[in-house]
Symmetry: C2
């Protein structure tokens, strides 16, 4: 193990439990630990309502645990850096959340997460825990119209947590929630662009190879290759190209209402994210599409990588209402 | 002017208006432009209440304009990258905000900001605009117990915006607000640590000189020298040293209630900020100090610099109540 001396950490093997401990100490009215590397609401939701649970590796803060709170996630199961939590830990969380109304497990399409979720659901079925899954696959870098199974889950999961959390607070059933969620995932698309790599905090290795002045549209959350590297162009040209690709996937019509989030993945400044948002908004406006929900924020990061994800979704009026409902999750800003 | 090819921008000379345009498009229910590079609330506060106004350079997003909103700032006057806005523009904002109840202008102690604020207040006085100033000087890198005039304003201004915004919504008078605000600034201290430099987005130059593996405690928001460079130590050792220095300045007693914010300045990950918060919290706990308000967030950045600011303040019960009041400012999370 190479010694890492570029980050404010302690023992590299203790990063995940230490960061979660810090997180729950900072937001004690919202979140607490429900077990080792399991984050739950400080004030649990009433048991007659469906619990919304997710899982995923750490190193992407504030995602995913930053969205645990009233009106959003009930529980987040955390793996080590960029690694899925094991099936046993996911099963432990399902046992914690067990209820007659059922559990909806939101899984980002990454092989480790999918495997852990499937195994945990099998274990849960054996002991009579009612659980269904929703798989997110918003990344469009595999190509327009690619099969869902070939599309990774990116930061488009975060608005989904909000929609499902608000709908479950309203008392929607597990089947209704699956329908509401799938209606969102079907119309959600995300595209990432990377520009400068980051180091893995445990082994000090860079997770991708991007020379100065080069960007890569389509890079995944762990440095997975995307659409090829090319010289950096202006913010406006980058934004216009990305909106065009997202629109090819989603096929919006004039009059549609859309979600537009520019998610900073680490070292790209809020200054830049604002400039990118400006152009993306104008591109949608020119197509007659109304931006009905927007954020410029770091919601899911990739360490100190430079780049961002552009998340777009076509929204129904009930999705918009759910997105605007209050939540006290520490990293979701209620601004409706 | 060197060509900058490491950031998602367009014409380097248009960064500030473009980023502000993107910002108000993303948060239309909260903010709008009230003039060139002047951000105001979308729904203005009633005129019988004191307006809270601030000023400062861009390049530090989401600060300062990210905190315009109901229950927080009424207006933010924005300069170019790392540069104070001119006195004429500040005067223009004071004219916009003119009211019998008066205006409270919060100024971070940086010479350009102070000069613009003083000149604008003189111009305002001539035309009968009622305005008072509060100067923030939370940086302790000039030495424990240094003169207020030698201490720079860092991110400790952000909780002050919240306190003053909530108190003014309650109908406090201008004189009462000055008293409430100065009671906070007197008991607020901030210390910055930098670890990797950033580039100025307009000229491509690095704003400080920090070799790999070296950190500098006390660096200012624009690369100003601090307490000297030294090899990076662990997150826990860094946090413990910083809490110790902040406590030397603030002299808390067991039983005191404190604000503790770890503000990421750019490329330092939320992962690290959580780990630093954890140790800082424990250090305060060991001294018998109760953390009554906390955030782990990028509230005031320095481009893609790596590092963070640790903000601590000893709080009265009314400060705590004001901090917990709702605000819809886009980058202040209401979680009380």
């Amino acid at each position: 193990m190479a010694e890492v001396k570029t980050k404010f950490i302690n023992d590299p093997q203790h990063i995940t439990p230490e960061l979660l401990e810090g997180y729950v100490l900072a937001y004690p009215n919202q979140v607490k630990l429900g077990g080792e590397n399991i984050v739950v609401r400080a004030n649990p939701k009433s048991e007659d309502k469906v619990a919304i649970v997710t899982l995923g590796g750490s190193g992407h803060e504030p995602a995913l645990s930053g969205f645990v709170g009233e009106g959003m996630l009930d529980c987040s199961v955390v793996g080590d850096i960029f690694a899925a939590p094991g099936a046993q830990r996911v099963f432990q969380a399902l046992q914690l959340m067990k209820r007659e109304a059922g559990i909806l497990l939101v899984v980002l399409n990454h092989s480790g997460d999918v495997m852990s979720a499937n195994m945990a659901c099998q274990l849960a079925a054996r002991v009579g825990i009612k659980v269904k899954q929703i798989l997110t696959h918003d990344d469009i870098s595999a190509g327009i119209g690619a099969d869902d199974k070939d599309r990774r889950g990116l930061a488009g999961c975060v608005p989904l947590f909000k929609i499902l959390g608000a709908a479950s607070e309203e008392g929607k059933s597990l089947d209704e929630l699956v329908e509401i969620g799938e209606r969102y995932t079907k119309h959600c698309a995300t595209l990432a662009v990377a520009m400068r790599s980051c180091t893995h905090p445990q082994n000090g290795e860079t997770i991708s190879d991007l020379p100065e002045g080069i960007m890569e549209i389509g890079m995944g959350q762990h440095g997975e290759g995307g659409g090829g590297q090319k010289p950096l162009v202006s913010a406006d040209d980058t934004a216009a190209e990305m909106v065009d690709l997202l629109c090819q996937q989603l096929k919006p019509k004039a009059g549609d209402k859309a979600l537009l989030i520019i998610n900073g993945v680490g070292a790209t400044t809020h200054m830049e994210l604002n400039i990118v948002f400006r152009k993306a908004y104008k591109e949608l406006e020119a197509r007659g599409i109304q931006v009905a929900c927007s954020r410029i924020q770091e919601i899911l990061t990739v360490q100190e990588q430079a780049g961002f994800q552009m998340i777009m979704a076509l929204l129904d009026d009930d999705h918009i209402a759910y997105l605007n409902k209050m939540s006290n999750a520490p990293y979701w800003t209620t601004i409706g």
